[in-house]
Structures are given as structure tokens and as C-alpha cells.
Amino acid sequence: MATLKINGETVTVDVADDTPLLWVIREQVGLTGAKYGCGIAQCGTCTIHVDGSPVRSCVYPVGALSGEEEITTIEGLSEEANHPVQEAWAELDIPQCGYCQPGMIMAVAGMLNDNPNPSDEDIDAEITNICRCGTLARVRKGIKLAVEKS
């Protein structure tokens, strides 16, 4: 059993402690915005926030949580799709297939929580998500637009 605070709600789930948080969120909690892409923390499609910091949930065992942490998924990032990152993404029409974008958006939003005005070097170091459609050029523009909007 594990108790999670996710997007402001407390839920209790009956899973083994070593179950990755990604699969608990997707299969027990029923929020499918965070995606499975690699299972080894390489691609970042599963990125969520734990206490505001980006975490690759596919390798984060649910048993490592105390139950006090605030977990945020893409579904809980904003009330009306109006987080600055979401607004910038809409304005620049960034998603292509979109499968990696919940993770990309959460990675960027998490970076901006800690570093509201990242340099290009900061972006290079912190945003390491894979996008096979190749939105990377617009993602960099989107980050800068989101900074302006914040």
C-alpha cells in the first residue's frame, strides 16, 4: 500500500513498493498524461514533478515516497492549460506527434521552477528529453517565450 498526494488529491494504492511511480500513476491512479518511452530514465517522456522538481517517474519506485511529497503530473500543471510553458507551446505550435510533450513540458516547467531565466547552456544541460519528431528547435524557442510570459 502506498499513499500519494497527486495533483492536490490524496490517493491510496495497493501496489508493490518497487513499482515505478509512472505505472502507479498510469494504471492505479488512471492519469495517462505521463508516458512510457524507455523505462530506464533516458528519454524523459515520463517526467513529472515531485515537490516541484522534475523526476523521471519510470525509474522512481513508489516505495521511495513518504506520502508527504506533492506529486504533479501534466494533468495538474495548470487549471486551464494556462501555465506559461503550455501557453508558449500553444503559441509556437510545438507538438508534432505529441507523445513526448507532456514529459517535455514538465521538464521545462520543472527547470523554470528552480531557474526562472535559464541560459542556453542551462537549457542544454537540463533539458535532455528525446523527441523523435524533432521539435527541439521550437522547444528552445518555447522555453524563451515561456520565460517572457512568466
Partner: protein, 748 residues
């Protein structure tokens, strides 16, 4: 004509404009709020469709039926633009829906092909899609004219409103759509001249973005019981999940597995071996469980013994590829003149050999399908690039008549050619047949996806060139050695044994109507392009851009080598052979001009120009290579002439994305085999570009009109050659062995 059942019942809107998003948010956030008075249509029966392409509600919402699949390439929005423009619709009220492959079958393929590949989504259907919309518009106007008792020729249309000129009275599409649908379609329609386009050619926002920003877009991997219940007439009460392990070794089969070892693990329902969809015997074991994590955990713990298989090694296969490079026997793809004479008289002969390793498509969303089987029906929920092929696969795997099968398409989390193959569809159906009445969602692990691809084929290219004393190219021979995709997948498409698709981008006109969009635009006097087919036991596939990618490396890196050997400017050297293709010369000149080609500014630049998928593309890349041999790709200027540019900002997105796909392969992409087993299993060993690797890309869209070229693929081909040529400019070293990943560019 009435709607068929599924379209009206499903109401599954796959894309919606900004207006839809606003309405959605208002409705969900402020249920008590009331905006401006909206007419109430709730007493009216829903309108029938106007025709197969268009349905219009009383409130003027235009729903465009889209047969091709959306996998990120923007076809959904582009096709909707074609229809909306021809229809004179109000773009802010346009939405889209996928008609199912089963409906297409029942309606005698009214939507024609569902195949989404070869950059054909728009160019392959623009004529009949626009004609369908033009017919719908004519019927709407006729319905209004009938109601008013006036001549249709006195009526005009704009923004979903019909106006009778002499009287000035107006009506809306929604008001007459029901009556329009009952009219006979016009016998002839004329589509607009491009000068009349208002929506085509505009940088419209995509229709499918809103849900992708909030985690609400449902992909195949996300399908749940509620999604199934929206579509099916069956009444399942749960949805099970499955994970699969396929034989790690090519051609191996299941010898044994100890189901008892995992049957009591949490959630496990069934442990089953599956038949090979394309061969003999059982080549996979799957676990069906209550959740996917439980299924996959049980598979991890399941002892499986495999037997047989092929001891294929990419390293050993090099010898076969090398043999093909010098073999006396090869299929001729293009050529002419006196090649032997050119080499005999040459002042200088140069030669180079390049390679292209196996590539995995590596869609971000691993392969998956959800299937529901009952005694008399089988339905799947599937991300597929070819809905009709998926429908046939369901019928074949289930043994049910195709009329009793159905495919509900969902947006793809990447396709790139991989999702045209139906292997995962057949597996999902086989699993669903194990638990009749209960839907099963099969999701591959990334490792399964990486090891069991339909890989971009491996080839080598050896190029020899003859230069005269003045540095003119007088003879060129490109020998391609390696795998044929068609020989493995579509052998009936070979012509007297020749796979002409191998010569993509190098063909003469007139070889095959399906390859007219893949011809060589250079003019050479004495030349030969030929192919020594060497087929490994690895299943090949159509990987975004297909054979254009390596052919561009072989031709365009060598053109650069020739220019330098001749002491000539690589731009001028190329232009000298593009005299018969002003379009190709124009895109090349455009990237040269924009990039600052030829300026003495310390930048290291490389060029590439190609024609493929009906479009002219070029790139000029700028790189730096530091003293330690570390590459930085700094800037790329790209140009594309697709004839007509339906949505410039989406073309720009495809061009930018093409560099990510092409350069990821150049930098990192390689699937190798040892003892028949793929060695790269995930993104740690099959890496993909990250933002740190991403250059600035400037896209020049220069539509010259008069033809419809593809956009999703051609630019990939110019990515690697332009960068490789720039690396030479920076280092004086040629990189001819891909991928670059482990090479020091200063020691190359």
C-alpha cells in the same frame, strides 16, 4: 446519404480548432456561466452528412473526414485546410474525424487509401479531397437556392455563409446542410485556381495541439476500458494488459517456458506462446495481466528457452557488402554515355566508399494495439499508418470475415514508416482470442521495439569519378551494395528482379510511374548507377526518407569530394550539372545565399541538394570541430520547393524535425547484430539527438507552384551530407563511416 452508424455514434473528434478549446474550457470551468445567446438546436435531428468528406452541424461546425493518419507530420491539419478552403468554410469551426477502415470497406472505399507513408498524405489525395469539398459546396449552394427559389448561379459562399446576390438574403451552411445531403452530387466540379486559395497556403495552427498540452491526447498506449466502450457494442467490464518477449535471435522459436513459475504472481491471468505472424512456429511469449506492469514483471521472471535461429552478424556481413561493391553483376538503375572511355581518358580518378548501417525507427510510443475478440467480431484500437492493412491483419489473425472486423484509429506517437507493418496488430488479436469478450492492450517494451524493428536497410556505396584536366566531371559510377526492402517485403514489386526503389533520387524518368517523384536532377554525360543486391536475414522496412537518405550521402558527399579534387567551388561544381533543373538549382542557390556560402568569415560550411518525394530540397550546414575532435553543428539553412505549400509553418516544423531524424542517425544511429541478436536495445545504446545537439535551423520555403511535392521526408536526405561536407571543410578529413558517435573527427 445518411451517416453510417459509427461516424455518428462515435463522435470521436480527433482535432479541434482554437474555438473548440475555448468552449471546452468554459464549459468545464464555469458550468453556470452563460455567454451570448446561442441558438438551441437540441430539438432538431442531427444533420446527415453533406457527402463522404464533410458533415456540417446546425451550428455550422464543419467536420472533415480524414482517411490518412496523423503521426505528427501535420497531414490532418493540411487535409482539413484543403477541404475547408474548397468548401469556403469558416476555419474557426472546422474539426476532423477519422472514418474507420470498416466504414471505408462498407462504402466501397469512398475515402480511398488510408496508407500514410511516402510523404503522400496530402499530395496523394489532394485532388479527390478538394473535389469532394467542391462537390459539397455546390450541394450546399444548391440547397439554399432551392429554398429561396432562385438560381444557384446567383449565390456565392464565404466563411460558411451563402449569399443570394440579387436579394442580399443569406443563410448558413448549418441551416441547409441537411437538405444538401439529400441532393444528387454534381456531375462535374471545378476546384479553385491556387490564386483563389484563402486557407491553403496559410500558416494555420494545427488542429490537434490543445489536448497534447494537457495530457489529454489518447494514444494507443493510453487506451482504457472507457475508450473501448465508446466504440464497441460489446459490454466488457475490464481491460487487461499484455507484455511480450519475442525471440531475441532472428528466426528462433520458443522451445519451452515455465508458466507455472509466474502464474501466481500478482495480477497474472495467462501466459501464452504466440505464432510468428510472418513465419513458422511460435516466436514469442506473452503474459496477460490486470496491469501492464504486472504483465511485464511476470515476463521478466519467466524462464523461456529458445531454439534455432540464424547466426547473423553485421560485422561478418561487411564482407558480403564489400563483395557487392566490386561484383561484376549488378542491376542497372540509371546511366548513359561512355563510362569506360571517360575513365580511360581521365586526368584524375577518385574513389570513395561510404556506408549506411541498420537504423531503428524508434517511435517515442512503442508498438501497441488493444484488441477485443468475441465469437463473431474482432475490433482493435490501433496507432497505424495503414488502417486498411491493419483491418486485413485483424481478419487474418482472427479468422473472421473482414466485414466482422473493425479498426478504430488513434493518433500515433510517431510512425516514421514503422507503423505500416501489422506485426503488433496480429499479436494483439491472438492475445485477445485467449480471453474472448475482454479487451487486451498489448504494449511492447522499448527493448522489444528496438530489437524487433523493420530496420532501415544496410548498404554501402562506392563511387568513382573521372575528372578531365580542366576539373570537369566526365564520368561517374555509383555502385550500391546491400539490402533491398522490396525483395523482403513486397517481392511482387520487383521488376525482373530489380528493386528500382533502391535507386531513389537517382532514377531516370520513365522507369516506374510510382517513382517519377524520385528522379535524378543532375545531368551527367557518362555515368552508371547500379545495385548489387546483398540481402541479410534482417527484416528491412521503410524508414522515414527510405533509400533517399543513403543515396544522398553517396552522391552528395562524393560531389563534394570531386569538387575539392577538381579545385572547384562545391556550389559552382554542382550548379554546372543542374542546368536541366532550375528548381534544384534554385533551392541550392537559396541556401548558399542565405548561409553566406563563399564568404571568408571563418565558418565551415557544407552543401547538399536532392530531389525526392516530389520536392526539391537543399541544405547548407555550418559546423565547428574543436581541437579534441568534438563536433558542434551550429546552424543549418534549409530550402524546400514542394510546389504548393499548404501550411508553411508546418513545413518549417517538418524541415526542422527532419534534421533531428537524419542527424540522429548520422551521429548515433546503428543497430548491430551478433549471433543473430540485436545489440542495441534502448536509447542508452541507440541514442537520439538532444537539445544540446540541435543546431539553429532557418527554413526557406519557396513553392514554385504547379506540382504537389511531399514534405515529411525529403529534407532528411540533405541533413547528413551537408554536415559531413562541413566537417571536411572544418577538418580536411572525410567521414565516410557512419555513425560518427565513436570517431574522433580530428583523427578520421
Amino acid at each position: 446519404m445518411a451517416d453510417t452508424g459509427i461516424l455518428s455514434r462515435r463522435g470521436f473528434i480527433v482535432g479541434t480548432g482554437a474555438t473548440g478549446l475555448t468552449i471546452g474550457i468554459l464549459a468545464s470551468c464555469s458550468p453556470g456561466a452563460s455567454g451570448p445567446e446561442e441558438p438551441d438546436y437540441s430539438d432538431l435531428p442531427p444533420n446527415d452528412e453533406v457527402n463522404a468528406w464533410v458533415h456540417i452541424d446546425h451550428d455550422d461546425t464543419v467536420t472533415v473526414r480524414i482517411a490518412r493518419s496523423e503521426m505528427g507530420q501535420g497531414t490532418l491539419t493540411g487535409l482539413a485546410q484543403l477541404v475547408a478552403d474548397e468548401l469556403d468554410a469558416d476555419w474557426d469551426k472546422v474539426t476532423t474525424v477519422y472514418p474507420t477502415p470498416g466504414e471505408n470497406l462498407a462504402r466501397e472505399r469512398v475515402w480511398r487509401s488510408y496508407s500514410t507513408g511516402g510523404s503522400q498524405g496530402i499530395r496523394g489525395s489532394q485532388d479527390y479531397v478538394r473535389e469532394g469539398a467542391a462537390a459539397a459546396k455546390a450541394m450546399l449552394i444548391e440547397a439554399a437556392a432551392n429554398e429561396w427559389g432562385v438560381a444557384a448561379s446567383e449565390c456565392t459562399s464565404a466563411d460558411s455563409v451563402i449569399t443570394h446576390g440579387p436579394s442580399g438574403q443569406t443563410t448558413t451552411y448549418g441551416a441547409v446542410a441537411g437538405a444538401a445531403g439529400k441532393l444528387a452530387p454534381p456531375l462535374e466540379v471545378t476546384v479553385k485556381d491556387p490564386s483563389e486559395w484563402k486557407i491553403i497556403g496559410e500558416a494555420k495552427k494545427r488542429l490537434d495541439t490543445a489536448d497534447k498540452l494537457i495530457g489529454a491526447q489518447v494514444y494507443g498506449a493510453d487506451i482504457g476500458l472507457e475508450d473501448v466502450l465508446k466504440d464497441t457494442d460489446a459490454t466488457p467490464t475490464e481491460l487487461l494488459s499484455a507484455s511480450i518477449r519475442q525471440s531475441p535471435k532472428i528466426g528462433a522459436t520458443v522451445a519451452s517456458f515455465d508458466a507455472a513459475a509466474v502464474e501466481n504472481m500478482p495480477g497474472v491471468r495467462k501466459v501464452v506462446a504466440l505464432n510468428n505472424p510472418f513465419g513458422e512456429g511460435q516466436n514469442a511469449v506473452a503474459v496477460i495481466a490486470e496491469t501492464w506492469w504486472q504483465a511485464n514483471s511476470a515476463l521478466d521472471a519467466l524462464p523461456i528457452e529458445w531454439e534455432g535461429g540464424v547466426d547473423f552478424s553485421t560485422e561478418a556481413f561487411e564482407a558480403e557488402l564489400d563483395d557487392g561493391l566490386t561484383s561484376d553483376e549488378a542491376f542497372v538503375g540509371n546511366g548513359g554515355g561512355d563510362l569506360a572511355g571517360a575513365f580511360a581518358d581521365a586526368a584524375q580518378v577518385i574513389e570513395a566508399t561510404y556506408n549506411m548501417p541498420f537504423q531503428n525507427h524508434a517511435c517515442m510510443e512503442p508498438m501497441n494495439t488493444t484488441a477485443l475478440y468475441t465469437d463473431d467480431r474482432c475490433e482493435i484500437w490501433c496507432p497505424t499508418q495503414n488502417g486498411e492493412a491493419a483491418l486485413a491483419a485483424v481478419s487474418e489473425a482472427s479468422g473472421l470475415d473482414i466485414q466482422n472486423c473493425e479498426v478504430y484509429k488513434v493518433h500515433l506517437g510517431g510512425g516514421f514508416g514503422r507503423r505500416g507493418a501489422p506485426d503488433y496488430v496480429q499479436q494483439a488479436v491472438m492475445l485477445a482470442m485467449e480471453v474472448p469478450g475482454t479487451p487486451v492492450k498489448l504494449l511492447w517494451t522499448r527493448e522489444e521495439d528496438m530489437k524487433h524493428g523493420f530496420f532501415h536497410p544496410t548498404t554501402k556505396g562506392r563511387v568513382r569519378g573521372a575528372l578531365d584536366a580542366d576539373g570537369n566531371l566526365t564520368g561517374l559510377h555509383l555502385r550500391i551494395s546491400g539490402q533491398s526492402i522490396l525483395a523482403a517485403l513486397i517481392p511482387q514489386a520487383l521488376q525482373d528482379g530489380v528493386d528500382y526503389a533502391t535507386f531513389q533520387g537517382l532514377l531516370p524518368p520513365g522507369v516506374d510511374p510510382r517513382l517519377e517523384d524520385q528522379t535524378l536532377k543532375y545531368s551527367f554525360d557518362n555515368f552508371l548507377v547500379d545495385h548489387a543486391m546483398r540481402n541479410p536475414p534482417v527484416r528491412p522496412g521503410f524508414w522515414r526518407g527510405v533509400n533517399l537518405n543513403q543515396n544522398a550521402i553517396y552522391l552528395e558527399c562524393f560531389m563534394d569530394e570531386l569538387a575539392h579534387a577538381a579545385g572547384r567551388d562545391p556550389l559552382e561544381f554542382r550548379l554546372a550539372h543542374l542546368q536541366d533543373s532550375p528548381e534544384a538549382a534554385a533551392v541550392l542557390q537559396a541556401v548558399a545565399d542565405r548561409s553566406g556560402w563563399g564568404q571568408d568569415d571563418g565558418k565551415h560550411r557544407g552543401l547538399c541538394v536532392m530531389y525526392g518525394f516530389g520536392s526539391y530540397v537543399a541544405a547548407c550546414s555550418e559546423v565547428t570541430v574543436d581541437e579534441d575532435g568534438v563536433l558542434s553543428i551550429d546552424r543549418i539553412v534549409a530550402a524546400t520547393d514542394p510546389g504548393h505549400a499548404v501550411n508553411p509553418q508546418q513545413i518549417e516544423a517538418q524541415v526542422e524535425g527532419s534534421f533531428v531524424y537524419g542527424l540522429s542517425a548520422m551521429l548515433f544511429g546503428e543497430i548491430t547484430f551478433e549471433d543473430g541478436v540485436a545489440q542495441e536495445t534502448n536509447f542508452d545504446t541507440f541514442n537520439s539527438m538532444r537539445i544540446v545537439d540541435m543546431p539553429e535551423v532557418e527554413t526557406i520555403i519557396m513553392p514554385s507552384g504547379g506540382f504537389w511535392g511531399g514534405v515529411g521526408e525529403p529534407t532528411i536526405a540533405v541533413a547528413a551530407p551537408s554536415v559531413l561536407n562541413a566537417i571536411y571543410a572544418a577538418t580536411g578529413k572525410r567521414v565516410r563511416q557512419l555513425p560518427i558517435k565513436d570517431q574522433n573527427l580530428r583523427d578520421a
